[in-house]
Amino acid sequence: MTLEAQSNNFIALADIALRNQDLQHAIGDGTRTAYYRRLDTMFAHSDEHGESMRQQAAEAKRRALRDLPDLLEQTERNLKKNGYQVEWAEDAAQANQLVLDIARRHQVRTVTKSKSMLTEELGTNQVMEAAGLHVVETDLGEYIIQLAGETPSHIVGPVMHKTKAEIRDVFVRELNMEPTDNAEEMVAFARRMLREDFLSADMGISGGNFLIAETGSIGLVMNEGNGRMCASLPRLHVALIGIEKVVDTVEDYATLTQVLPSSSTGQKMTVYTNILNGPGREEEGDGPEHAYVILVDNGRTDIYATKYAEVLSCIRCGACQNACPVYRTMGGHAYGWVYGGPIGAVLTPLFVGLENATPLPHASSLCGSCKQVCPVDIDLPRMLLDLRWDLVREGESQASWDAAMKLWAVGMTSPRRFALGGKAARAGQAIMGDYMPGPLGNWSKHRDFPDFAPKPFRQRWKERRRERA
């Protein structure tokens, strides 16, 4: 049931995005704004302070990953102590079935949802809707995306690819909003609509940014307050959380809730930083009657067993997307699955299979920005390089590249053949001009190629030595 990947169509999807001027402006502005805000916040005190926060956060996640099996057991025990009912789901089908079972058991009709990339992965909304449930996304960006019938293009800003005018059109078309170009009026309109849904919902679904093992709590951060409405207003709260979200202590949570908002939106803290501890207790007078945590694997254990395990440290801040010059030109949809940008180029092949995402490891100039901004120091460029190696080893590379690389290695292991190759290139250029053969022809599509020098450096060097001798 996992959302099917379109990633092998990356080039064609990218082309659509590259031709969309509105998208270009929206993504270009959105990513850059977030990128510079991050710099201002993360390094507000000093470069050293920002860097040490980053290393502390990386250490917290690495430690948690190393101890993951034990921490998961501890988490389950402590979640239960807090009154959560804990379920485990191996894959998307199981997770979605658990959600449906819970909904049936409690006669649920309306579901409010707060932002969750995991449920995008699982296709939970589609399954619930097919079962006749009324599902409403309550994060403003997700709400717009749901109305427009699209998927999120950015981890944190799901609607980053749309301009204000496009959002206005969605509201007018889908909800008969009185047309306005005033953003505040649009937000107020959405709030009024969403308020009705919040009050009528039987079940709230949330994700979880972190699971705190020592206290059995869900760490949930947000700016709009919609998440805590989903978790506290309906009589039922269901949290779907990936098993890699576990951290050891509340202190680790405190560290991570600093780097997460600084990295994603340049905020020191999110507007709401929650630690949820189970259903409402008798003495409290509010809160859900029942609270469930579904711990979802959906391929994570498999990744954990590979050299790419560290990618499970990702806290979904979107900083690598904002910093990536490739993502900045096209947004996230071109990547063809749930996650776009550098993190998506690594996660997608690991989740859906390398053969279903062959262009993605190459969708990077390896500029290193993603690694530089990652709050938990994931070496994404190295993983992309390793995935490219996997492509070759698993026979997923093009035969023409295989042949070209073999030939290239022959040329580069002898100075004589190297010099001959240079001569041939020079002669070829003299005859063919700007035309270049094979994949090199792609160069001159947008760029002029410089002339090969009449005399290569090695010859010039020899001549100078002779002159001076």
């Binding site: 390896l366 160069w443 020098a453």
Partner: protein
């Protein structure tokens, strides 16, 4: 950055790794590097068997081919005391990737990879961090305005934020202008530029917009591959602005007598 501690290169013979692109396309830049190195008193040699650092194969995922070519590099530079190269990208290949390309199980090749990584320097890094020289005591024949494009592998791979700025900052008659997004990739990315030419070009277009908006006519960078990408775009756009390699800018200060 967990690079192994490096021995000071002061007083050592410098073996120039000119790189395949400089050798075939930009030999003048290679000569500029030699001139500047000799200007600061270095003894320079050119190991004649050298070809390429193996980065194209490595970045394309062809590790076997990359290992083969890297081993050729070991042979070509086996007698080197210090290796200097006018490319942040090739320097990063030797420094960061060679140690990953071989494991202790490879025996001698592993040791050679570690050794090559420890003695290789990017050109500006060698001058500023290696020799401790920022003032080359050079003056350009006339006033010229520059902006710096920080090539990715130099900046993020080797941490060379300031070296080129320091060197040009001490160059007589040189002035600085800002280049917006000077730290953002130009879109080259090696094979990326031909595998995904339209995306590469979208990145280049953004770079060219920034270059055109800059007050500088000349953009300075430390990698000829990025230079090829940017000049290829500037030429196609019929812009009068151009990108120059740092070594060529500095060598202009050496005055007459150069070809």
């Amino acid at each position: 950055m967990a690079l192994p501690a490096r021995e000071s290169p002061i007083g050592k013979r410098v073996s120039l790794f000119v790189t395949c692109i400089v050798d075939m396309i930009y030999p003048d830049t290679g000569m500029s590097v030699v001139d500047i190195l000799q200007h600061v008193g270095a003894e320079v040699d050119f190991p004649p068997d050298q070809t390429c650092c193996a980065q194209p194969a490595f970045n394309a995922g062809y590790r076997d081919e990359a290992r083969t070519v890297a081993k050729h590099f070991f042979k070509a530079f086996k007698d080197a005391e210090v290796i200097v190269t006018p490319s942040g990208s090739c320097a990063a290949m030797v420094r960061h990737e060679y140690p990953h390309l071989f494991t202790p199980a490879d025996g001698k090749a592993y040791e050679q990879a570690q050794r090559m990584a420890s003695i290789t320097w990017e050109f500006s890094e060698f001058l500023v961090d290696g020799l401790g020289i920022v003032n080359l005591d050079l003056t350009l024949p006339e006033k010229q305005c520059f902006a710096i494009h920080d090539a990715c592998h130099g900046l993020r791979g080797l941490g060379l934020g300031g070296a080129a700025r320091d060197l040009i900052g001490h160059l007589g008659n040189a002035e600085f202008e800002e280049l917006n997004e000077c730290e953002v990739c130009c879109g080259f990315g090696g094979l990326f530029s031909v595998k995904m030419p339209d995306i590469s070009n979208a990145m280049l277009e953004s770079k060219i917009d920034n270059i055109n908006a800059s007050g500088a006519d000349t953009i300075v960078t430390g990698d000829v591959s990025c230079l090829t990408q940017m000049n290829g775009g500037l030429s196609r756009h019929r812009s009068g602005k151009r990108v120059m390699h740092l070594a060529d800018v500095l060598a202009k200060g050496l005055g007459g007598g150069r070809a």
